[in-house]
Symmetry: T
Subunit: 160 residues, 12 copies
């Protein structure tokens, strides 16, 4: 017996469920590495970027919750356990220990850029099977692209 019924036919449910599960892992990973950088950043721009990172984390956490609940709403149990994130997370992340402010800016800009690229593929994939899920992915992309711009603008001239 199905535990939670889906409002989508099976193939659509699978496509949307996959897109949401991958997004969940990216967002939870982003929330963890954002905090990691928030705590370990050093350098003259410490305070400004320390605060900026909390906005990334806050957005990532909030979207992760929405994504996971959307997955459940489609009858697909979301998986955000520590071992799952560690196994599935593939975006760039910080090395251990203190990190200089410029490196953090570069890293987060890269991480966001990679995450956005993957989200854009999922936007295309879900357009047909589930426009409701697509709409959520569009909203996430919009926010992450805004965050990425701010880190990229801050990263200029590159290498400074």
């Amino acid at each position: 017996m199905t535990v939670v019924k889906s409002t989508l036919p099976e193939p659509a449910r699978r496509v949307a469920g996959d897109a949401l599960q991958s997004t969940l892992v990216d967002l939870l990973g982003l929330s963890l590495i954002g905090k990691q950088a928030h705590w370990n950043i050093v350098g003259p721009r410490f305070r400004s970027i320390h605060l900026q990172l909390d906005e990334v984390v806050s957005a990532a956490r909030s979207f992760a919750d929405t994504v996971a609940e959307r997955s459940a709403a489609l009858g697909v149990p979301p998986d955000g356990r520590p071992e799952t994130i560690a196994a599935a997370y593939t975006l760039p992340g910080p090395k251990e220990g203190w990190v200089r402010d410029g490196e953090v800016v570069q890293l987060i800009a890269d991480t966001l850029e990679t995450a956005i690229g993957r989200l854009r593929e999922r936007i295309t994939a879900t357009a047909e099977p589930d426009p409701v899920t697509q709409d959520l992915l569009i909203a996430i992309t919009s926010e992450l692209e805004k965050q990425r711009w701010m880190f990229d603008a801050e990263n200029w001239p590159r290498g400074e």
Copy 2:
């Protein structure tokens, strides 16, 4: 050259740093499995426990931030990266997929009980080297013991 200076002598710094790093992993893990259960719970008590779990997650996230920043304040870079959590996390966690309400209550009560036992050891260990860190661990224990009681009271008679 030391990146961030410590206000503690070396041995005290090491004891406090270890206690904080272990606590950080427990709390980040707890925040992840709390959300996992929040999303995957099913059964007639769904709504009540769904909301209760968010209070556990909220407390775990907030204390994780305080713990990590205290570690940094002592000159010890905290480590909350996905791979670190996955490797170091040893508290009980939910299996994949939907979980019945009664199982969730039992699981969280067990997880909190284990976490509290480890915190009490760290309270003893840090009393001498750093009463400031000890005071933070006491505050975390107090909150987790309160949460544990509520899940335990809800878990009675056991097996229901």
Copy 3:
């Protein structure tokens, strides 16, 4: 003379207007039966579901207002009068008098499922004629699917 001008050409206006009027009736009906259940529920899960139903009602009322104003914005006068709702409302609703908690959960899950099925058809129908209206219908579907999941998860194992 047209009273309120439309920003859409005639056929598009008619498709969008019809989709909005049907949605308005569903949402107003949902807000009424949600309150009916909120007042008449009995059983050990009374308080939890009593509160949950007010969230459904609140969402239904808020979306009904947005839907009706969108209809007006397209030059189509919305109709939410008592006799119209009674005549046009076709979703499942509660019988007269007290209702047991388990029955309420089942009923609302069914009502939401039916409403969602109808919304998905309107999402398809309005995609071409008016993407602005479609976007609103997507947002409503997203919220109702979330509410439905929560009642469905609470309804498990079914028949309990």
Copy 4:
């Protein structure tokens, strides 16, 4: 077996229950036609009356909730289902489609006047059997008389 016990003896319970059920229908009907007018009003006084109507709706909804819960508190299950409202509602209401501002003002003043007349009878009827219910009906009358005055003052000179 009685589902919800009453704190009133049977005859008092019946009088109070009838007064509350009739008031519930009037208030729910008022909330629906208030919104109908809110959406369909046209004319130079659009904005002012559009906003004023939402205050009527807000009061009607809030009192409807209190009235229905008071009925339940007396062991009388309230009935606010669409078909019940449509069948029992007898106050004046708007015709279909756009309505001019002056007509709206006249209509709402008339509707409120009729509702108040019926409430005053119920105030008399409940004085003896249940002064607690009477007190609630007095509070509703006070608010509706205030709203009626504002529409009446706005309706002067009549026919303008």
Copy 5:
């Protein structure tokens, strides 16, 4: 010399003062046993009822303050000392130690029912001597009857 003058003639002052003092004891007692149950409840409905009890306590405390200040306003010094409550309190209360959720629901429904019966007598008694005091007693009865309904609805089918 009178310490605080009364605005009522002597016999009226006595009737109103007695009604208020008895109500004060009931409300303070209710606030204490409500908290007792809030702390000692166990069972699967723990969280829901734990929260519900705090609403009873909050209402009882707030009304107790109003009742005592009304008594003072009539020149009658209110008495809410521990020994007075213990001696005068006659409503049902919990036994020592942990209490199961179903028992708590039954107990509070009974306590409220008894308190309401006594309030209704005082409403009759004060109608003539002091309608201002009567109006306060009506307001308290209204709130307690609402709370009682919710516990009674939750208590169904009785014995579950």
Copy 6:
């Protein structure tokens, strides 16, 4: 032609209208002399009574507005013009210039006592013709009696 229609028959309208007009004058007068005392008080208890007087003024202003709007709601135009207040106001008031704190306390206690006596007569007079107006007068009396008690308690032992 009547400007604002009444919901009361003529004799009832006259009784309620007179009670409201007299109350309006008392409350507006009270708000003015309360401010006068607030500004002109001197003595060691300055700050405490200065603040307490603003609570009297705030209550008087708020009730004056409600009373005047209730009068309008009954079709009786309220009169709160300076010349009307000066001509009709008969409660005790402060003399010109600075006033000692003890005198202020005595004065306000006396003013409130006189106002309350007049309100109690109007409560009796309006019971039959308009219980809605009576209910408002009861609420005003309740608040003014509370304020009076506080000034009276503060005025003890009298003459200090």
Copy 7:
């Protein structure tokens, strides 16, 4: 012995005190006639002007308080008693009973214009003796000129 000492030499104190006392009477009178119009206005623009008048009253009350306390701060006891206002108030005011919306707008525009003319004289008179008082009069004038513009703009074309 002086009750409250002044921080100004005697002639300056007298000029500033006179300017403040006259302003106090104007503002208290304005607050009373603003409310009178707020309650007695009739006509199609009822709601809009009803609300606008409360902004005038609110500003008048707030400035009256500041003006009276500034007078006290200069050692001049302010006089805002009913009889003083009635005797000293000379700005235009409404007649008894209901007033049409257009007349209200004209009246308030005229009242404000007269008040402003008198304030400008006091601004000139206090410039030398007390720039602190002058600054307050400038702030009042600024606010009343803004209110006057809005009534004047609303009064156009005049006679409508």
Copy 8:
């Protein structure tokens, strides 16, 4: 070297960038002429429309900011300088000096209608190249269509 990198391929970036730049000019222009009308409106409906215009301005400013930041997020520097707006703005605007209320309503309805027509073209144009930008344009259109309806409803019968 590119200053801010884009997440879109070049042709898509150009289409989206053009759509956003044109929308930015329209919104900034709308915010300026909305304020111009807010300040210069005269006539009996002054207050109501004065307030309504601020809602248009507030929406225009908020969306302008979002649009410009989205442009930057795509690597296209937005241009909202005074000379750019003056050169590129082509929507209808008010003439110099005071404007009667009816003219303002007509003007804003026309301006919004024109702006909406242009937005609908951009919604079509961006669907393929960038659904994220399209989603933002849909949200803007939804809000402007709502505002337009309210001005149009207020403009009826036209010429009044």
Copy 9:
């Protein structure tokens, strides 16, 4: 079978449980006598001390809740029933009826001093068995010592 499990070994559980139960009685008693004094105080310092007492009551209620929940968290059911308080409460309390302001100040200072002495003993007793409970007792002592100082400072010169 244990109802709520403890996280402490048995002897530690007993010491901490006893300290918490005694503190609970003291705090609940303090909250009752604080209110008693709040209602029955008379004299020129009425208002100031009336307000100050509510801060004591508010602190006592809040800490009582925390203490009782800590006890439950340790597996010890707290007992705050009226009869328990009356039997176990041993701090000084007010006599029946009105009490002069100076006496109230002296009484509360004495009550707090006694309560603090008992708390300091419990701080010593719990240091070893449960530093988490000790930390709570330290926080309560800190607050009560602050309140005591304010009553003591107000009580000077003693006998005034």
Copy 10:
């Protein structure tokens, strides 16, 4: 016939009106170029200055509104249309496209310095004709001088 009457004699009206119109153009221009820089800034200090610019824009918009309404209050219709700003604006502004953080700081410091110089001339010019307008210009100057200092302090050592 004058549309909005002035409270100033003609020559004074002209001087004050000119000062306000020029100030309006400067402030609207400043709000536009502040946003332009807010969107187009790049470099390591991006976030800090991005946020700081929004405070300039917010102040400029708020003062522009006050200035325009003051002009209207004096019977002088303000002109803030796009073409007027573009034609009359003479303060320094940013070039098209991305701008480095250091350049932005220098530019805003220069713009504010120029605006302040012009405001100081208007303060002198309006002192005699209208001290109310002068007081507003003083307030604007105070705020802009504060903003200028912060950009100037941030611009040191210049050229960095």
Copy 11:
């Protein structure tokens, strides 16, 4: 090279800078002695004056910040270091240790009176060189004169 440029010519800058620096010292000193009295006051009026002093401190701190930032805005670095305050502060202050309530009232009234006298000289001195600075000094004087009145009114009859 000048670090922070001034917007004033040199002599004006010097006069305004001196006035601001002296005011800064007075306000910082006032904030320190206000707190000293807040902590050390004893006597029956303890609570009322304890709270009143915090309002003085709050105003003093807030104005000190504004004064120092205005000085910086004029290119004059403010000096509020401990040694500067101790050396330059010349207003009356409390002796060491506990102080009786009556003495505190007298002391603060005297301190404020002295501070006001010095501010009035600076108002005259800055009128010509910098009306913006003068406006700030006027605002500070206005607040301190209000505070002084309240302590003076409380100090009557003097010597009590």
Copy 12:
């Protein structure tokens, strides 16, 4: 006769009193030099550090108040007068005039480090005589260590 009684025996009172008095001087001094740096800082990191310093000042002021009131609560009159601070303050402070951003960061890190060293000694000293005072010193240390870390992280690589 003792003015304010202590709850501690004499030797404990002396140790705790000394620790609190020294801490008070450090915190008041820190609040003054924090503001000094807040006003006088120049350089490209101006805004970020300007804001960060206000958080240090805010924490220092808040803790100073708590420390002084704790001292009073122990019967030891605290001393925070200007001359006392100037004489007793020994932490590093800024020189007169403008200070570069990098120097400010270094200075505050050093000041906090010194203050923390002294606090840790007082934590040890008060452990036995007064654990309540010790708990407060631990809380202050925790906050200052957090602030110190942020300035230290910002100060890296040192000398930049």
